[in-house]
Symmetry: C2
Amino acid sequence: MASDSTEASSSTSDLKLQFAPFSSSLEAGFWHQLTQKKLSDYRLDESPKCIKGYYYNGDPDSLPTRLTLEFSAFDADGPTPARCCPAPGTLYNTNTLDAFKATDKKALLEKEAKEIWDAIQSGAALKKPSILSKFILLTFADLKKYHFYYWFCFPALCFPEGIKIIRPPVNLENVFSAVQIAALQEAYDGLCIKRRTTVAPYFIMKYTEDTVDLALLEDWETFFTDTKKVTVGVYDPCTLSQHPGWPLRNLLVLLAKQWGSKLDLVEVLCFRDRTLQGSRSIHHSLIFQIKLPELSMCPKSVGWEKNPKGAMGPRMVNLSECMDPKRLAESSVDLNLKLMRWRLVPSLELEKVVNTKCLLLGAGTLGCNVARTLMGWGVRHITFVDNAKISYSNPVRQPLYEFEDCLGGGKSKATAAVDRLTKIFPGVNAQGYNMSIPMPGHPVDFSQATLSQAQKDVQQLEKLISDHDVVFLLMDTRESRWLPTVIAASKRKLVMNAALGFDTFVVMRHGLKKPMTGSGTHVPGSSLFSNIPGHKLGCYFCNDVVAPGDSTRDRTLDQQCTVSRPGLAMIAGALAVELMISILQHSEGGYAVASSSDDRMNEPPTSLGLVPHQIRGFLSRFDNVLPASLAFDKCTACSPIVLDHYEKEGFIFLSKVFNSSHSFLEDLTGLTLLHQETQAAEPSVCLNGVREP
Amino acid sequence: MASDSTEASSSTSDLKLQFAPFSSSLEAGFWHQLTQKKLSDYRLDESPKCIKGYYYNGDPDSLPTRLTLEFSAFDADGPTPARCCPAPGTLYNTNTLDAFKATDKKALLEKEAKEIWDAIQSGAALKKPSILSKFILLTFADLKKYHFYYWFCFPALCFPEGIKIIRPPVNLENVFSAVQIAALQEAYDGLCIKRRTTVAPYFIMKYTEDTVDLALLEDWETFFTDTKKVTVGVYDPCTLSQHPGWPLRNLLVLLAKQWGSKLDLVEVLCFRDRTLQGSRSIHHSLIFQIKLPELSMCPKSVGWEKNPKGAMGPRMVNLSECMDPKRLAESSVDLNLKLMRWRLVPSLELEKVVNTKCLLLGAGTLGCNVARTLMGWGVRHITFVDNAKISYSNPVRQPLYEFEDCLGGGKSKATAAVDRLTKIFPGVNAQGYNMSIPMPGHPVDFSQATLSQAQKDVQQLEKLISDHDVVFLLMDTRESRWLPTVIAASKRKLVMNAALGFDTFVVMRHGLKKPMTGSGTHVPGSSLFSNIPGHKLGCYFCNDVVAPGDSTRDRTLDQQCTVSRPGLAMIAGALAVELMISILQHSEGGYAVASSSDDRMNEPPTSLGLVPHQIRGFLSRFDNVLPASLAFDKCTACSPIVLDHYEKEGFIFLSKVFNSSHSFLEDLTGLTLLHQETQAAEPSVCLNGVREP
């Protein structure tokens, strides 16, 4: 890289013109926007991008000449603040720090300088002089650490022998009368208004003792009749009293190239538009005269910014501490998700996942693990329902609770889970309901109070299910799953169900009934066990031939505790969420045909893989199978007759179920008759929901 | 149940003798011990157990007559506090609240009463009079909530028509002279000393104006020559001035049955051994005379205690708040584990699990999930090594961290993980080391400081591996696994290794070398891919044909982040622990022959199932396979030549590896030669550790 020998110094005895270079000024908003662009648009794309900076003409003395980039930098056509001149830039954002370091800066500079030279030669720069103040920004954004590496370049074409000063810079007020200064200010504003712009970066100028006439560069030929001495103006961000700022450099090259041989003397006005004691003032503008050398071929260029140590090198800014932590957390979490799309699963529809409202019935071992996996997937709307308090045995297996939560009788799980999610990720929208779910065989007609509480609980549950997209059944009894199964089937909500044995689990999606009818006709191509479409799949109760009842009475401690291998809930909880995600990615969602174990060798139906009906896991042999089964027309939960009674009678029907023994539902659905007809059938009825397929 | 019509009342005009019943007094220590017994010994065993209570004879007036059970109740032969009389009891601890309620109390009382009657009839009660003060305790311990339900019974045989008072009770000092009282006290103490006991619950007595003579019941026939009037003594815990306590009841039945027809008059001394104004006093003892009715057949019995409301019913005590919370947490966690043994896996050796010291290299996504699963299994000794700080994207995927941990640049993962484990379970013994693991291809010879830091890191890692039983490799680069693989192979420690792809993972145990030699000869019955014994299994590097090197340089963001489906780490972390647990349960531990997918149909080698070499999981198809492979004699980590160099040269050898490119290890192991020989071989070399088997 050529070192820049023409920067400003304090010596004024030198008769060569020196320019004050730009200092880059990058606001946090710029890095925020770059982060967003990188995540959402650029991803791994390293091609150059158009951005926009600006320089301000209103700074008081002694401030460095800044080129500022803020959040608006990526909106190249957007507005610029008052008294700021936009500068077009090219962003080179690399994917790695190594690529950043390895970028050929000399070549980059030469390429940009060549483009400026070409625009000067062709005259394009006359019509679009902003090309003279182009810049380059080379960046690498380490979005894991919020470290941003960058290096600015303000390309300037150089006269090989420098520029001879004929009359050194002086304040405008030393040369112009007050009348002339007022006329200049009026003329400048008039030019901007006429050209419908807020600032004119460059202009040409004629003046007499009481008039000032301005025009744009493109009007040169008609404006100047005599070119022995011309006056050009530059909107100058520099605050030094002896030196112009950087934007003048390429203008002078333009003048030399276009009219160099004709120009004896060039007078330069550095138009400085300040505010002094509350009033606008252009008195500090500089004016000086120079002699431009001839220029034929493309000259050398300079422009890479020095770092704060004064050496040629990049800068780094660490924003991890000054960015708003909650916003940082949100963008960091987004990052991990969006990374999936960049290379691995470009078709992943993250919006479908992130916007899914999930209702978790049960905030125990399964509920905690499901919630954590949902958080990892960026799901923001999570609601818990549980009526239990946190006991001392919970924290080591239920990863949203701690020892402190157990003290004083234990916090409510539903609300403690919400508190924990908020501590993990403040941007989550979590709610908790400390309530019971009425159950078959657990009578509610003891008293009017019990009855009306049950009715309230049913109404609350109905509302919650209506308000969510996916219902997770994560309770520890079979019968507590009955009511939400019925309501969700009636409301056509996707149900994800997980249940644990000691070292076995089932994770399943319930069949999602079609909006009009629950049964439908036989779909060609599907059979009893394969290619079953989502609306014909069974629910948790479809395989059972007894109705749910009170299964907690008379159980010993090991039966009450749902004793399971500690890793099991993590696996089942994770799989329940991953299965939901895969279903959401399927174009048919919950209606998708169920994948089976046999489909493992086939092309998967979604970008994430299979969408089975059930995953039945066997930890003792580290194996999963993927059975699928049809809805059962005598099912005690999702059969048409049950849904029909529920939809017509509502709580009247439900309270009959709560207050009755098995036989009520079994009589209703025809199971009783079936039992009588098939008394010789297999006697094995498993109550814990985990059965060999 | 017969209601008890003979309890004490304030009326003294009634000529029938009334007795003050016992109040049960159960100390928290008793429930603690019951909890322990239930968990460790009884489990689901409901058979009656011998326990021991005691009653105190030193209470001041107005206190109820208490039968106390404390922690010592389960040590039937243990000592009893001074001036306390032991009472033998039978504990009926039910497994369910329903069984507690359904227990036939009448039958239980009648059974105990019959045993007392039989002992009275046979004369056994004479030799062992403590049988007369037997009690029954019926309990149900709800160890989930620390609610204890109980019901006491102090069986008393009843004279159908009651007992006629001939001379009402008066204080001893109204009848006895000071000399007699002193003689009585001396005689009582003499009897205890002679019988090597602290108290005599019952005794017989003769006295003159200046002498008192005592003997035990068994000496009746030789002691009394004349039985027209006898004096019997009872060690009386009652403080009422007009009534004896409960222990007298069955004694009178004994007297009536044994000598009833011979006895005209029975004088009863209620021996009350109090402390008054700092001095021992038996002055408040009662003395009275009664006439015993005849008794032939077994009389009715009473004895179930009334509850505080005065009704016949059980009591409940809620100890969840008054027990020491940390102790509660520990016993609760133990409970969940022990429950597995009660019914599901009786042969489970929990001690092997709980006492295993686990070293977790990496406290990120995998490390957090592994630690949580270990906690669930009751592992108490967990040590983390990590050099990273917690960043904003971590908490939603790394379940030991929260948003707060990210502020101010982020806490160290290793120490924050320890803090979190302690918050989850205060009884854990966790340590954290914020340190780097030196890696091949990451030179350490930049400066003397770097070099000596690397040497310290190696020494620290060597010490940590020596001090633990199992080493988990949970890092996010391949090369960081090299050094711990070498050290652990050399030290013969079990290594569990987990690595993630996007939707695939590998969980494996490294081969565990035999103490003497790393290679060994071919074991009959094992082949290349089946029945491989543990000491011949490969390590993480055995399948690779290039040495580890710097894999983090020049990676794009998605490669650096180890982007994976959020549920994957939970599954892999859980499986890594579950695999370790299964291996620990195998009699040969890490030397166990590797199970394969084919073994899924066979009888499993441990109570928990298979012990594969590797679990390779494919989340897109919800599938796991269980490949096994032999150690590779040119492995860059565990081959004999590498271990040999490490053991002989130590850090000199290691620093060569850190500072060199791939070729150093490849030259050393012969891989270079192998490459040259097999240049036509398959070109696919995968670096992320997850490959199709």
